[in-house]
Amino acid sequence: MSEQKPKIGVYVCHCGSNIAGMVDVENVRDWAQETLGKDGVVVSRDYKFMCSSLGQELIEKDIKELGLERVVVAACSPHLHEKTFRTASERAGLNPYLTELVSIREQVSWVHTDKDVATEKSKALVSGAVHRVAYNTELQPLKVPINPNTLVVGGGIAGIQAALEIANAGFHVYLVEREPSIGGHMAQFDKTFPTLDCSACILTPRMVEAGTHPNITLLTWSEVMSVSGYVGNFNVTIKKKARYVNEELCTGCGICVEKCPQKVIDDVYEAGLGYRKVIYTPFAQAVPKYPVLDRPNCTFFKNGKCKACEKFCPTNAIDFTQEDQYLNVEVGNIILATGYDLFDARRVTNYGYGRLPNVFTSLEFERMSNAAGPTGGEITLRDGKTKPETVGIIHCVGSRDKNFNNYCSSICCMQSLKFAHLVKERTGATVYEFYIDMRTPMKAYDEFYQRVLEEGTLFVRGKVAEVTNATHGPHEKGKLIIQVEDTLVGKQRRIPVDMVILSVGMEPRHDAKQVGQMFGISCSSDGWYIERHPKLDPVTTMTEGILIAGCASGPKDIPASVAQGAAAAARVLDKILQKEVELEPIRATVDEAKCSGCRICNNLCPFNAISFLDDLAVTRINPALCQGCGTCVAACPAGAISGTGFSNEQIFAQIEGLLMGV
């Protein structure tokens, strides 16, 4: 270590009682002043809230008056306030990268229960930072221009909202949807709670706007295949699956659909409750209007005969030779609004879905109650004819259950109340609702509960144990029996009904993990995408330039999904309007004199930032692509790669400092 130590200031934060309650802050302060003096500490202070303006001014004043050359702040996690203190140093004329934050809250006071131990650990962490910071060097952030185009993945209500906000602000959006039409789950619903407005009526104007907006390139029946690059400069490959319909020629007249002789069960749009043709548009208001030909089920593709669609198409738009196309687009930001899958009700075998015909899922019921659905809006049993006289609606199917999903799906209570209302309205049947807890916390939701109570729905507090056709006597014959403990009465009840509706919960998309990996973001243990901060930064992720909106990050209702779509758009517009983005200067660099050209590091880089210069036989790292992860640094056998801000000197000094008291 050099003889000439830089002048270091140490600042220990109380964070009210968050830190001071478990760490003897004054003791840490005095210890740093006395013991670390020989390591360059010239001043050590504590303060109730270092992050307050007064706290920051304290540091700025010392930098100016005492000529501090390095600053160590022992406070909360760098996630929260590293930027605050680095900016404060910068204001006082010190390069921000000469300031280090030590987390003595998340890593000490919040996780320890012994004050003496916590205080000693805080000292060790401060000592580590003081030793390390001496080797910090002045760094300049890298500025790169931002591509003003945006990719939105997922054409449900959240994605549509995000795309429209950005497009209306004058910037271009690629909206990618894997189904033949945008609209998402909302397009399948009949009514929306709590106002009962028609889902299609409020959704389709937005769909049309997105489909015709000059700033939106709509790519339906398409999927993102790969992503490279970094914030401001992503390169995305999109597969546009063959529709077997020439979009230039197709007028959307629907004659091909009418003439197609082959029907299959529609597992997607009709939730398995209805049929569609093999060439089809999923629903009347689909955007875009062009149909899609379902190749695996097409008679022509299977037997080489038929071509009814081609024969009758008035504009010769059917093209059996069409192939998948791959498009490359460049965008600055990406919003993932990939939505959710429904919980598979067949997994709860005690509710009999798939075995007992008159057990339905919530989505089946949505389709059934929709005037454009398989029954034309009639509520019937599986025979398609009989009206039920008694209906049981079961909450929390697959949710709040450690056997399936631990979390509350948040929409099911309101959805079930909506079903109760619709059943009453359309059939006059007796309706039972089986709930564990009634959760109606948003605007006008509890009022809707009151309304359904008033309409005479019979509420039973208890998680249904089973739905069965095994009778206990003639009075139950031909019925479905809902067996439940009415917990408010304290007795088991067996309630015979004609129809059961399972209010199934939401699940992350089955491919959420792979999609997340492609975009460089991670999933929680439940499988939902993780926000940068669950409360304060809900639409961004830990990867700059990748945003999330709607149910991709967890169950949400329509208002919340729309709000998130708009919020994500606002964050993107903020980036676009800044025109350029500052990249953290934490980068790896190759000392070309030491590089042996072994190429071990070449394939390890997760960001494709490493290239090999054949003429010089050395490796080089693109600083804009490098994210400073350190993989190559650790892999280099020659020690030729070093990470800015994580040099060997810094790491060894930090370890030495940490172990000083041991």
Partner: protein
């Protein structure tokens, strides 16, 4: 040859003699080698656990310790009795899950010079090894007298598919294993909605009225579904539904006649073994009429099988593929 350490359990020598005899009869066809655990003791059924926890688990664990000592080309303990199977599995599982229990039990075992390390043996039920080790194809290949026309209600009872600590069964509520085994014999299997409901367990002894109601529900459901016979894999279920069916009838003034036999007995007759050797005749509710339906000892009369109806109305969801422990997936058509 599939080899197993065999834990017969007390009932196999008494009330479930038909189970034991039919198992011995089909064993050669199934190429199963059974090596009985030397000097095994009672598992305590559902009684010892009510009295005193550590002795109850020590009683079970003595068997596990003996089995572990006897490992000889196999570490699988096969138990045909549901209660035995559950107790052995439970002791093994809880001794690992709650180390304090494991320590105490081993302290007790040490007094008899024994020790058991949880996880040292695999505990499996007879139906599981037949399906997943021997395989339905082998079973099918041994059938010489298919049970065509016999309407069978498969009745598994509680303690095998639940709690299923080792996750060996396709489902807790409507497992398909016994159905598939009966189908392999050519029987017509009814979708028995109460296939894992309770037979009343020891309530026939201590609270008969509770038990009679449970027995009535099961027998009534089987009759309502048009079953000729129920098959079970549990000695307690067989005992309650067979021996107490008469009392149940007296209690409710009903007149049910629903024979219940062990699945191995139907396997045996399907394999061409004489019904007597297969343990038929030991049941109190006679299975004579059921046997007659497959042409044994009585003229053949076929119940008309209802014609498959064309689907009408709204489509049904596809059944969820069931996964067996062996990884084999069964999709019903």
């Amino acid at each position: 040859m599939n080899k197993y350490l065999f834990y017969p359990g007390c009932s196999m020598e008494g009330s479930a003699r038909a189970y034991y005899e039919s198992l011995k009869a089909i064993q050669p066809a199934l190429t199963m080698e059974l090596e009985e655990i030397e000097d095994w003791n009672c598992c305590g059924a559902t009684e010892y656990l009510s009295i005193n926890l550590i002795p109850a688990y020590s009683l079970i664990a003595r068997n596990l310790a003996l089995a572990a000592q006897q490992k000889n080309g196999t570490d699988t303990v096969m138990a045909p009795c549901s209660a035995c199977y559950l107790n052995l599995e439970k002791a093994d599982y809880y001794m690992a899950e709650r180390p304090a229990l494991g320590e105490k039990v081993n302290e007790a075992l040490a007094a008899g010079g024994l020790h058991y390390e949880p996880g040292s043996v695999q505990i499996r039920h007879l139906v599981d090894v037949i399906i997943n080790d021997i395989g339905l194809e082998t079973v099918k290949s041994k059938v010489v007298r298919p049970l065509t026309g016999l309407r069978v209600a498969p009745y598994l009872g509680c303690m095998v598919p639940r709690p299923d600590f080792a996750k060996r069964w396709s489902d807790h509520e409507h497992p398909s294993e016994l159905d598939d085994l009966m189908k392999a014999l050519g029987a017509e299997v009814i979708d028995f909605p109460m296939k894992t409901s309770c037979c009343g367990g020891h309530m026939t002894q201590i609270g008969p009225e509770t038990a009679y109601e449970l027995i009535r529900r099961l027998v009534a459901a089987a009759e309502e579904q048009g079953a000729d016979i129920m098959v079970t894999m549990c000695p307690m279920c067989q005992m309650n539904l067979d021996a107490y069916q008469g009392e149940t009838n007296r209690h409710f003034g009903t007149n049910y006649h629903m024979p219940i036999v062990f699945f191995t007995q139907l396997m045996a007759v399907a394999f061409g073994i004489d019904p007597k050797q297969a343990g038929f005749g030991l049941e109190l509710v006679s299975a004579k009429d059921a046997l007659a339906r497959i042409g044994l000892k009585a003229p053949e009369e076929q119940k008309p099988t209802p014609a498959r109806k064309k689907p009408e109305g709204l489509p049904m969801p596809k059944p969820l593929p069931k996964k067996y422990a062996s990884g084999q997936t069964v999709v019903e058509e």
